[in-house]
């Protein structure tokens, strides 16, 4: 069949569903291979989020950028989002597991984060704005309290002004009897002074704080929406395939092209790593040996958590609750969820080592080698074991797949987005 691939393949496509036909001529790929390749590029803009009405507003993005790099939104004033999501390290921290924080998940990249359907490795959050709120109150991460965060914005003139440009008048929180300086519903343990500070508040005052809190998440999401990578050498190569531009076709080395053919063919990576983001955005159990513990049951808890999250897309802080209903009302606890972890994007994957949800592999080659041998795979009698069989790749094939994965890198971005706003 490789010979057949060398035949000239004529492939008619209609770019972007418009009526303009494009004739693709390839001496290298079959029409079926071209069809599969074109599913991965180009990548459009991040999807809109109607539950966040400021998602695409520049003022919101600027406010979000200020918040993202500001360590004051933490218990000790030392932890910002950028502490773990380090721009120069592919928006992760380069560690298998964070060394500074007692969490057991690898820091996910923020490149193309706005394309996600679900958030966190286990999908326990349904929107980017809601995700941005969670580390702030997590005692193992920022360890701030909701009141502290909201006071920080409402009490400081510059931040308050930036907030009001986006969301309108901020509430007056100067009455410390009604709005204690610190405290929140997630302060641990229940009954502690910080927890009691929150529970002693009046419901409407809690709602006022919650509203500001949710808006801060929406601003951070607006900033993160801009962290887009979509013009990698692979995308240039696809442009070359469609246009016949010889220069663009040089964007992929012969080795990377062999890797591409494996990706969409023999190795079948495309089963889960589908579409322009090279991720189906869904959840699978691949039996990856954990650093500690067994196959994670996290997905079961995540389904419950997202359905009950007061900041989910169908809650009162959503700007379009119908979107949340359409997303969450069909989500139920299924046995298939055992051991499942979200498929990560492969865009900029070469820039975001180490890999897998606990950083099990330091290099891409190790990842590919795992799929080649499935050595150490946890045999849990799980449903998806049927499709995961050792690929038995030759060393050259492993190298080719790595070369292809490296061709998905594009870190070109406005440098002003990579640092605090001055």
């Amino acid at each position: 069949m490789k010979k057949a691939a060398a035949l000239v393949a004529l492939f008619l496509i209609f770019s972007g569903c418009q009526k303009k036909p494009v004739t693709v001529v390839s001496t290298e790929f079959t029409s079926e291979e071209l069809d599969r390749i074109f599913q991965h590029s180009p990548s459009g803009d991040p999807p809109r989020d109607p539950t966040n009405i400021v998602f695409e507003k520049p003022d919101a993005a600027r406010l979000g950028q200020r918040l993202f790099f500001d360590p004051r939104f933490s218990k000790e004033g030392t932890v910002a989002c950028s502490t773990c999501h380090i721009p120069a390290r592919g928006f992760n921290d380069g560690e298998a597991l964070p060394q500074k924080f007692p969490v057991d998940r690898n820091v996910p990249t923020l490149w193309n984060v706005a394309y996600n359907r679900w958030f966190f490795w286990d999908g326990r959050v349904d929107s980017l704005w809601s995700q941005a709120l969670k580390p702030l109150e997590n005692p193992r991460e920022h360890a701030a309290t909701r009141l502290q965060v909201v006071h920080q914005v409402c009490d400081e003139p510059a931040l308050r002004s930036a907030y009001e440009r986006v969301f309108g008048p901020a509430p007056d929180l100067s009455d410390s009897g009604r709005f204690p300086p610190r405290g929140g519903p997630l302060a641990f343990p229940p009954g502690s002074p910080l927890h009691s500070a929150w529970t002693s508040m009046q419901g409407p005052d809690q709602a006022t704080v919650d509203r500001v809190f949710s808006n801060l998440g929406k601003a951070i999401a607006s900033y993160e929406r801009q962290l887009v990578s979509r013009h990698a050498p692979f995308d240039v190569f696809v442009e070359g395939l469609k246009s016949g531009d010889a220069e663009k076709l040089k964007a992929l080395s012969p080795e990377a092209r062999r890797g591409l053919r494996l990706f969409i063919g023999k190795a079948n990576c495309r089963l889960c790593h589908s579409g322009p983001q090279f991720s189906d955005g869904e959840f699978h159990n691949i039996g990856i040996p954990p650093l500690r513990g067994g196959l994670t049951p996290d997905r079961f808890a995540a389904i419950e958590e997202v359905r009950n999250d007061p900041f989910n897309m169908k809650g009162v802080f959503s700007d379009d609750r119908s979107v949340g209903e359409a997303k969450l009302d069909y989500l139920v606890r299924l046995q298939d969820a055992w051991g499942q972890i979200k498929t990560p994007t492969l865009r900029n994957i070469a820039k975001t080592a180490p890999y897998m949800h606990q950083g099990q592999f330091a290099e891409l080659e190790e990842v590919v080698r795992f799929y080649s041998t499935l050595k150490g795979m946890i045999q849990a009698g799980h449903h998806e074991r049927a499709i995961l069989t050792p690929l038995a790749l030759a060393p050259q094939e492993i190298a080719a797949l790595v070369a292809f994965l490296e061709s998905l890198s594009d870190e070109k971005i406005d440098a002003r987005l990579l640092k605090p706003i001055e």
């Binding site: 209609f14 589908s274 869904e282 359409a326 069909y330 989500l331 499709i387």
Partner: protein, 147 residues
């Protein structure tokens, strides 16, 4: 109830439309050939004829979609008001199904609507319509191949 099963002509016209739109390359999903295939079959017990159509030109890959379907008893005097119907889909080669459960509603014309379907992976899916009446369940099954 006038329209219990989508007639052949309707399906043919819709099939041609789906094939034409499928050829536009609007995204991964069913091939044009698959989208124009029959979407009508009898249940395995022979008691019902089930016909369905996605509420878009073809079944997409990894995009949420809805579908409409009808369940018609084969017997002349057969009833439909006491039916219990479920829709599900699985990938037999993978051993898993959808990551969500669609919501079914009965429409005014007697047809059903299944909302919130999601075939999140390319490959072969089996789409099941399980019809229960009087404690007996029959299954109408379709193949769906997503490229």
């Amino acid at each position: 109830m006038k329209k219990k099963v989508l007639d052949r002509r309707t399906f043919l016209i819709r099939g041609i439309g789906a094939a034409a739109l499928g050829a536009l390359g609007c995204g991964p999903g069913e091939s044009a050939k698959a989208a124009s295939a029959s979407r009508t079959t009898d249940s395995n017990g022979g008691g019902f004829t089930v016909a369905f159509e996605p509420l878009r030109p073809s079944i997409p890959m990894n995009e949420i979609f809805d579908l409409r379907f009808t369940v018609a008893p084969k017997a002349k005097e057969g009833k439909t008001d006491d039916l219990s119907v479920q829709v599900d889909a699985r990938m037999p080669a993978h051993g898993h199904g959808m990551n969500r459960v669609p919501k079914l509603t009965r429409q005014g014309d007697g047809s059903y609507k299944a909302e919130g379907m999601l075939f999140h992976m390319p490959g072969h899916w089996e789409l099941y319509f399980d019809i229960t009446q009087g404690g007996k369940t029959e299954r109408a099954q379709f193949d769906v191949d997503l490229k």
